[in-house]
Amino acid sequence: MALSFYPGCSLEGMANDYARSITAVFEDLGIDLVEIDDWSCCGSTAAHSLDETMSVALPARNLAAAGEMGLDIVSPCAMCFNRLRYAQLMLKRRSFDIPWQVDTDFAVHDMTRFLAAPDMLAQIRKRVVRPLANLKTVCYYGCQMVRPPSITGYTDFENPQTLDAIMDAVGAQVKDWSYKSTCCGASIGIGRREIRDTLTNRILDKAAHTGAEAIVVSCPLCQANLDTVPRRPGAGRLPVFYFTELMRLAFRPAAEAGWFRAHLTNPLPLLNTKGLVAA
């Protein structure tokens, strides 16, 4: 099976740990990820906020390139996923003029939903060598992957399940909580830091309160935000994993997973006490 892969800008920088774990996991699953040739930025929040037309035109360039490949797109980043889906919908409705011929007859998946399909979950379960039993997690989806449902296609937007199902398949304990898709405020973290700090700290507090030992995410912005936000003195931190990092840990317990070193909140002590990495 092959998919066209739109990594997005974050995966070249801040989230290169995510990128590396994705490559490893898809290799294990035997699925080819073909990177869209010379992809460019989707415009993210900026294009959407300042110029709606650009927020369709910029993703359209990538949709056009993917269309030529004739494969479904999978996107690991919540923001890119949202922008690609939005642009695809607008192009189908012919609401905007763009300079490319875009054939929009392919699906744009977010990576978690693609992997949470029943047959994929069965594949994942088959590859688990060491289940992550005892690891208590909460899954955090953020906003852009699930909302608005008319764009993302999530019908369970109030209580999304894709990450939960994947974590369950690799044997981790998944706790239910009500902050799964509460916004972390990453998009205004630069200009209004104190708002971002308030929103993100609340999510970290609630996760700890739920009894989780780690937070599992799929969005590079959420990860960066939850992992680096200043905490008030005394409040603890939880390691924030990309779901693919934990999948790989269950698939190949002995393999060297260099990407854990990229985290600001060191996850190794936790994995160590759970007997999931060698001391």
């Binding site: 920088g13 415009g43 360039r61 608005p148 600001l264």
Partner: protein, 211 residues
Amino acid sequence: MADTQPSGPNPAVADQFAGRRLIERGHSRFLEHTQNATGIDIGACYQCERCTNACPVARYMDIKPHQVIRYTQLGWREALMHSTTIWVCLSCEMCTTYCPNAVDVAGLINHLRNTAARLPIRPAEKELAQFHQIFLEELRRFGRVNELWLMATFNRRPAILKKKLKDGSLKEDLSLGFNLWRRGRLKLLPHRSRGIGEIRKLYRHRRGESD
């Protein structure tokens, strides 16, 4: 999450509003124009305030989401253009998702933000507006956006540099940057897209320039 208690009126905004409610009689066609441009049924709102209650940042806004709808109905365009709301909104889509009348509140706020960005007015949240602009400028330069270069370009703006030096946040930025670099999370050199020509052409067309 009923975080809607006002954080106290921002004096600058209070000033700006002094008398406005009486003076701004409203643009009579604003509602119609906005509905036509966005396809949003703004008249369907019955002011239940569910959008505002769902909004994670309503307390930081001078005009709350349900009031944005009301202001639009009344044609109070200037107040909306000068509001903090249009810049503080996170586009998290909670409001739209929970509106019982399917009013696309987030879409309306985004449309207002788009409109304000084209007007020669000083945005109420200057740094938020500037950050978006710098992001698009970086995208035009390279075709992809490099986080390190984005932050460096942003922090190099004199006004921002001055503020960050004063409140100590530049030091925080640098120490975070150093930590991230040590962990291999910063890409030092930006990647330039081969298709940069096509992308710049898009920008020129949007600015009404020819090829």
